[in-house]
């Protein structure tokens, strides 16, 4: 039989009766296909908030009211999705592409502190798409990205993050599937792990991307290569791009990218002294376009360089990369969390 502890100083029967009513209400809601009551309340509040942003009737000071400050991370994320996904404009004959890709009015990102709870990890490539190879051909990008992502996953879970992986084995997963998975899992951030290949085999370094336009032909080539099997049509891409350059997500993605890049270089440079800090860059990779959360693509090493390939064969080096990624994510998450607490 169940143990009993001291009875609470309330009418226990009334209390139990109230709890049972709440429990039944939630079960009825689930049976009817609705979300849990707590989420329903949150959705309603944030729909109002998003509407307010859309109508530009809320000033920043109004947005900093208790409604924003006490919201859970999921609700904040939901609000950002709503706020950064404008209704696609009606197709106008001859409308200039530049106009369709126009940047929405910037919103101060500080209004939307993003607490991070669930991380979507995307080990690049997989299955038929091996990615790049080391000079001798023995190391393949898809295996290394999965190994590093698995290590990172363990670190994140130990650090109390929830982790969703876009792939857990050597399987082909289309880029569209990866982004759909990230969105349906309601990830708070998205981290895609890749290994670079640089024409000059003497060069090697780390670089981290967030979503944005680029004029750099080399980045255009790289993005085209990574996006090759995306499964998106041009129309799909335009629709996605209409909403993605909104400043909130871009700004958060940039912060995440900076945090990760900083930790990667700091951790790897002592082991690999010639390593270059190739910095934080913006580029239109599909996995960054299609995801609705702050998203980055980290080129954590460079397989075209023999020295890097040698290091990547070592468990310790791959673990070092995973730890650096973890630290970068944690630093970003802590900063977001502090911003959240300051608001309360």
């Amino acid at each position: 039989m169940a143990q009993k502890i001291a009875a609470p100083p309330l009418d226990a029967r009334r209390l139990k009766s109230r709890l049972l009513r709440e429990m039944v209400r939630e079960n009825l809601s689930t049976a009817a296909g609705g979300p849990p009551a707590a989420l329903r309340r949150g959705r309603h509040r944030w729909r109002n908030l998003a509407l307010g942003v859309g109508l530009s009737v809320l000033t920043v000071s109004q947005l900093a009211s208790s409604r924003v400050q006490t919201a859970s991370p999921e609700r904040v994320a939901a609000a950002i999705v709503a706020a950064t996904e404008p209704v696609p404009p009606a197709p106008a004959a001859g409308a200039a592409d530049a106009e369709r890709f126009a940047r929405p009015t910037p919103i101060d990102p500080a209004v939307f502190p993003l607490a991070v709870r669930r991380v979507v990890l995307d080990p690049g490539h997989g299955g038929d798409n091996g990615g790049t190879r080391s000079p001798g051909g023995t190391l393949v990008e898809k295996a290394l990205t999965l190994d590093i992502a698995e290590r990172l996953r363990r670190l994140l879970e130990q650090g109390q993050f929830q982790v969703v992986m876009t792939r857990e084995s050597d399987q082909s997963v289309a880029l569209t599937q990866r982004t759909e998975l990230a969105n349906s899992a309601a990830g708070d951030i998205f981290v895609s792990v890749h290994l670079n290949w640089i024409v000059s085999r003497q060069s090697h370094g780390v670089e981290t991307y967030f979503l944005g336009p680029t004029q750099d032909p080399e980045l255009t080539r790289l993005a085209a290569e990574e996006n090759r099997d995306s499964g998106y049509s041009l129309a799909d891409l335009r629709r996605l791009l209409d909403g993605v350059y909104a400043s909130v997500r871009e700004s958060q993605s940039r912060r995440l990218a900076e945090s990760v890049e900083h930790e990667l270089f700091r951790a790897l440079h002592p082991v690999s002294p010639d390593l270059e800090d190739r910095g934080v860059k913006s580029a239109p990779f599909v996995v960054l376009i299609g995801t609705r959360m702050p998203a980055i693509l980290a080129e954590v090493s460079c397989l075209s360089n023999a020295e890097e390939a040698r290091l990547l064969r070592q468990d310790e080096y791959r673990q070092l990369i995973a730890i650096a990624l973890y630290k970068g994510i944690r630093t970003y998450a802590q900063a977001a969390s502090h911003a959240d607490q300051k608001g309360t």
Binding site: L10, L15, P36, E157
Partner: protein
């Protein structure tokens, strides 16, 4: 069984073990493993189309083996895991004599808090039609209800796949009142396996053997006796002293559990924090780790002290709580939830 022929049941659908307590007085526990024979040969040997519990674990080489709530969640989109939940539930109901008359069964199923949050709908779909009426609740809530610990208490339910924390403050727990860690029994198993492997690389043992060792001898703090186990080395059964490895692995639970406990405590209204600290309940397999309750009390001493009560019957505390809910729920509520 009540006079009207209705059977009420509380079910704890756990990541490692699942238990059922029924109003006819029957209680059973099974390992949460479900397996389907891999081929014709396996089906012929096992003489079953589906194998559940310990039998599934013992015959795992012949089975497509699933632990449906391994990380506290049904894997999204995994039909096999949903089917496994269904098979497991059906099996538990059959054990208490509730097969084939589902219109007369009213069941409360406790699941890991994370599954409640993420895939409650999948769970409900997986269980549809097995009972006349069904309610799904988070496991810590079922434990709290069964122990009448509904006000100013904290439940720490350390299971296999997840450690669930829940503060009961007189309302049905919301997301803000709960936390879930994936640092739990399975993580201890992995750590213990790794540590023993490092120290005795020549010994042969499996993760299932490690789990059994942990269930018998887990502890934190000072050892009561040396932990000696037997594993083959070069084909010869050999005694291994794994005391230090056991302690190190079990103590990996402490930092995240203490940190989460403090985090939840800090969110309790200040005037009630002391009362919650004095009413912390440790349930699940974690309650069987010797010394864990006192270790948590030592940590609580840093914030003014507190008491940790270890449940005496961790195997059935959740299903007993579910049964208590089932028996207390008004008839009208059961009718509303009839499938």
């Amino acid at each position: 069984m009540t006079t009207d022929g209705v059977l009420y049941a509380g079910i704890d659908l756990g990541t490692s073990r699942s238990s059922i307590s029924a109003s006819n007085g029957q209680r059973h526990v099974v390992d949460s493993y479900v397996g389907w024979p891999l081929d014709m040969v396996a089906r012929k040997v096992l003489k079953k189309t589906v194998v559940i519990g310990r039998e599934a674990l013992d015959n795992r080489l012949m089975l497509d083996l699933h632990r449906p709530l391994e990380r506290g969640l049904i894997k999204e989109g995994s039909e096999k895991d949903e089917a496994a939940v269904r098979e497991l539930l059906q099996h538990l109901l059959a054990l208490v004599g509730a097969d084939g008359k589902n219109a007369k069964i009213r069941a409360v199923v406790g699941v890991p808090a994370e599954a409640m949050r993420i895939n409650k709908q999948n769970l409900r779909n997986a269980m549809k039609g097995l009972t006349g009426s069904l309610m799904i609740v988070s496991e810590p809530f079922a434990v709290a209800y069964g122990m009448d610990a509904l006000l100013h208490t904290m439940i720490i339910d350390i299971g296999a796949g997840t450690s669930d924390f829940c503060v009961m403050n007189g309302r049905y727990p919301t997301e803000e009142d709960q936390r879930t860690l994936t640092t739990a029994g399975d993580a201890v198993d992995d750590q213990l396996y790794k540590l023993i492997r490092e120290r005795h690389p020549e010994a042969r043992f499996s993760i299932h053997m490690v789990r059994e060792w942990k269930e018998k001898w887990s502890f934190v703090g000072e050892p009561k006796d040396r932990v000696m186990v037997t594993a083959p080395i070069g084909g010869k059964p050999t005694q291994l002293d794994i005391t230090e490895e056991m302690r190190a692995a079990c103590e990996t639970l402490l930092p995240p559990v203490v940190e989460t406990m403090f985090d939840l405590l800090s969110r309790v209204e200040p005037e009630y924090q002391d009362r919650v600290r004095q009413n912390i309940i440790l349930s699940g397999g974690g309650g069987l780790v010797r010394g864990l309750g006192p270790a948590l009390e030592s940590a609580l001493a840093e914030v003014g002290g507190g008491k940790v009560k270890v449940v005496k019957d961790p195997v059935f505390v959740g299903s007993d709580g579910g049964l208590a809910i089932a028996l207390d729920a008004p008839e009208s509520d059961w009718e509303k939830l009839a499938s």
